[in-house]
């Protein structure tokens, strides 16, 4: 099988820093793949290997089966990359920027397609504006356009929504999701976890240059998956006493194995005639998984559910 992206034992050291440490994984065509990790984990270094910007000390990387070192002309044709930094060439207009980028990939007479990209990115009225006159959000859109202008099957986005307002973030998500549905493989790096949780299928978590977890997001979540319900009521139904993990006056923290159990709990409350004053559901999210796996921060501990069996 030809993978969209393949890393084979990729390692890279910068002086004392082991930026990438024996990284191997594959991404199948059509996947929406998330690469997560704290700052300095090696995310940008790893995706830079795909574009030939960083050369590994050992190991190999492939884009659509083309070795990024020995067959770089073909591997780069298959790859569109949106860099993290807001870079631009101040000499040119938006349209020229896209025309050049198309030409660098051997794509000529692409004006119709460029118009289409401009339209989808909401840049039609900026087409003939100089790059330096654009706002940060607009420059970010042009970078996305530049990555797409040669219709690459694999799109890599390095923190695409960093410093982007809510409106543009949602517009970008919608646009990228559409590209993925149309068959593009998407590799997204982010440390904005809700983004990965909403968009990605499989997720790899990187820490200090190593992959510490790699799985489908549901399976990444499931070992930690238990839902906590904070119930404010006079008492808890007898059948649920064993599930109470913490009790503070009229506030009870109750553990559910699955969210569906909430229905059973509500039925029991009704049957016992207990009036519910307040009810909050607290679900495990990717952030908690991430913090556990990368072992950082007290913030995660605060939000983690109380361990089962803790005396109340």
């Amino acid at each position: 099988m030809t993978y969209a992206v393949e890393f084979q034992a990729v390692s890279r050291r910068f002086g004392e820093l082991q930026a990438l440490d024996d990284i191997s994984f594959t991404i199948a065509p059509g996947e929406f793949f998330g690469l997560l990790g704290p700052n300095g984990a090696g995310k940008t270094t790893l995706i830079s290997v795909l574009g030939g910007l960083v050369r590994p000390d050992s190991g190999r990387a492939f884009v659509m089966g083309h070795d990024v070192a020995t067959d770089y002309l073909n591997s780069r044709r298959q790859l569109g990359m949106v860099p993290q930094e807001l870079v631009f060439d101040p000499f040119f207009t938006v349209r020229e920027t896209l025309r050049f980028q198309a030409g660098y990939f051997g794509l000529h007479r692409a004006d119709d397609w460029i118009d289409e990209i401009l339209h989808h990115l909401g840049l039609s009225d900026k087409a003939d504006k100089g790059m330096r006159t654009l706002s940060g959000g607009m420059k970010r859109r042009v970078l996305v356009g530049q990555a797409l202008v040669h219709k690459p099957p694999v799109i890599v986005l390095d923190e695409p929504t960093a410093g982007v307002d809510v409106e543009l973030r949602h517009a970008l998500w919608a646009f990228i999701s559409r590209l993925n549905k149309e068959g593009h493989t998407v590799l997204l790096t982010t440390h904005y976890l809700p983004e990965a949780e909403t968009l990605c299928g499989r997720i790899a978590m990187l820490k200090a240059g190593r992959v510490v977890a790699l799985d489908h997001k549901h399976r990444l979540l499931s070992p930690f998956e238990m839902t906590m319900v904070r119930l404010t009521a006079a008492r808890v139904p007898d059948s649920w006493q064993a599930r109470v993990r913490r009790e503070e006056g009229q506030s009870f923290l109750i553990e559910l194995q699955r969210l569906e159990e909430l229905e059973t709990l509500l039925a029991a409350l009704r049957a016992d005639g207990i009036a519910v004053k307040d009810l909050q559901v607290e679900q495990t999210d990717l952030e908690q998984v991430f913090l556990r796996l990368t072992g950082s921060g007290a913030k995660g501990n605060e939000r983690q559910p109380a361990p089962a069996g803790e005396p109340s």
Binding site: L53, R76, F100, F105, R109
Partner: protein, 265 residues
């Protein structure tokens, strides 16, 4: 994909990089083309006025003003070819937009050709500008160069050599003052001490000898031969020297790009 859009064979992609480089200097042509022409003409005005009656060159067969013009044309070609590659690369490096073509399927040769040819083109445009104005107002005998092919050959080689040195300087420099160091301490002395303003035969023996180690001397002397059919050394010797320097630099610059020196980490 739209029917009219077409992918061309790998290797053809450098044309767009060349076009981008040309458009880059053309966008600011007042600064990159007009200004150097004015500067060269000011040199011409002042030096020819002050020195016309005091300096004799080629045994008096050529007027000093006429002698000066090819030197100034060539100096302008050299300086602008250097400025084009070096400033373009350092700007791309500092603003980070180099990533746009580093991610593209452009071979090291394509990268090399695009930058060198665009720089030679800028040098040529500026050089022709100086030549036209000088011939029109100062030295009408320059309308008809004695051996134009020699002038073209040395103009191209000189421009290409400086474009390559500009590429190396632009790749090497991390900031603008490093580039200025390269320019002020290497390029400028070599250009000024190459016989732009004088015939090396008028120099003391030591400096006469030193001049013969300066490749820019051969570029200018050979270029001048193209205009007058007379020169300080044989144009064949100059061509050999300049050609060798050009070949070594071509290989060196290409090797640096192919290794990704200061481009890919």
């Amino acid at each position: 994909m739209n029917d009219r859009t077409t992918f061309e064979a790998p290797g053809s992609t450098w044309h767009m990089l060349f076009y981008k480089e040309v458009l880059r200097f053309w966008r600011v042509s007042f600064q990159t083309v007009a200004a150097p022409v004015i500067m060269a003409l000011l040199y011409l005005l002042i030096f020819s006025h002050v020195l016309e009656s005091r300096v004799s060159v080629f045994g008096g067969s050529v007027s000093y003003t006429a002698f000066l013009v090819p030197g100034l044309v060539m100096m302008t070609v050299l300086q602008n070819a250097f400025a084009n590659t070096s400033s373009s690369l350092i700007q791309s490096k500092i603003t980070g937009n180099m990533i746009f073509f580093l991610l593209a399927p452009i071979t090291p040769w394509g990268f090399f050709l695009a930058y060198v040819l665009a720089a030679v083109l800028r040098g040529t445009v500026v050089g022709i500008g100086v030549w036209l104005v000088a011939a029109l107002f100062f030295a009408p005998e320059l309308w008809r160069p004695a051996a134009p092919l020699w002038a073209i050959a040395f103009g191209f080689l000189g421009g290409a050599i400086l474009a390559m040195l500009g590429m190396i300087a632009g790749l090497w420099s991390e900031k603008f003052d490093q580039l200025a160091t390269f320019q002020n301490f290497i390029i400028l002395p070599l250009t000024f001490l190459s016989g732009v303003f004088y015939s090396v035969h008028s120099l003391p023996a030591f400096w006469f000898g030193v001049s013969h180690l300066n490749p820019f001397f051969y570029v200018i002397d050979g270029f001048r031969y193209g205009f007058f059919g007379v020169s300080d050394v044989s144009p064949w010797l100059s061509l050999t020297f300049v050609g060798t320097v050009g070949a070594v630099l071509t290989w060196g610059t290409w090797a640096l790009i192919a290794r990704g020196w200061k481009l890919r980490i």
